[in-house]
Amino acid sequence: MPTIVIASPKGGAGKSTTAIILGTELAHAGAEVVLLDCDPNGSLSLWASRSALPDRTSVLEGIGESEIVRTIKQHDRDGRIVIVDLEGVASRLVSRAISQADLVVTPMRATTLDATIGVRALALIAEEEEALDRKIRHLVVFTMTKAIKSKQHRGIAESLAGQGVDLVNPPLMERAAFSALFEFGGDLRAMPPQGNMDAAIENAREFAQAIYQRLTGE
């Protein structure tokens, strides 16, 4: 089963939120999902500690650079999707995880700072593709976006698209329900209502579906 690595050297880009939304939505759609918490801040572990994990999901924590390749290999098997949540720094752990990825998702806020630092992950992927002589599919998802796109957002999106970067549509909007995942744990369907839940669930589902389509080549 595919390994999806959530990577950006920029902290606060929305990696852990993206990992949880993707993992819980794919699990809701019937996949068995293993989430690897490789962030020393332990965001996924915090989420996992809040309540019972949704059906078909499991979390492994405390995985460092010396264990990452072995751990992915151990869980990358039929019937599972492995999602790797990484720390927000440029580290060897990140480059090793990318080397084992079927798909790399780089979340970034639609700001110049996030885009500038996030693009370093894309450059690293290109370098690893050459070194390992294999294609590593990758894409960018904008996170914490507003209903009305700013001029900066549009400019960054155009610039990335112009460089041939695959941009996921829909982006992950700024939603109270998304940040509340770390308060209540579980998935969006299990938590008490937070803002417009229907819109949050639709956004999460469509995002996960877009990733699934990339994985299956639809």
Binding site: M1, D76, R92, E128, Y212
Partner: protein
């Protein structure tokens, strides 16, 4: 809450590709990462025993039975003879001085 447009994952369509996990591939990955500033940041684990903070030394000759008893007691408790002397000194300060 019912999903208006649910989607279902077809497990059979999710294919994983074999990845190279050899030492050579790992070295190539690390080199590629280092060129872009993705370097080792995990704290190095120190090997072996930590150096003792006990750097002071006493120069004492005692009767053979006393040295034997101190050695036996230290061995029994799994501590150094220095700890026994420290404890004896603490008692001396509390009770005699």
């Amino acid at each position: 809450m019912a999903d208006p447009k649910p989607f279902a994952v077809d497990i059979g369509r999710l294919k994983s590709r074999a990845k190279d996990t050899s030492t050579q591939a790992l070295e190539k990955t690390d080199r590629a990462g280092e060129e872009h500033g993705f370097v080792a940041r995990s704290p190095e684990k120190r090997r072996g025993r930590k150096p003792s903070p006990r750097t002071g030394q006493v120069h004492a000759k005692v009767m053979p039975n006393v040295s034997d008893e101190i050695a036996d007691e230290a061995r029994r408790r799994g501590i150094t003879q220095g700890v026994i002397i420290e404890e004896a000194w603490r008692l001396y300060k509390e009770n005699i001085r």
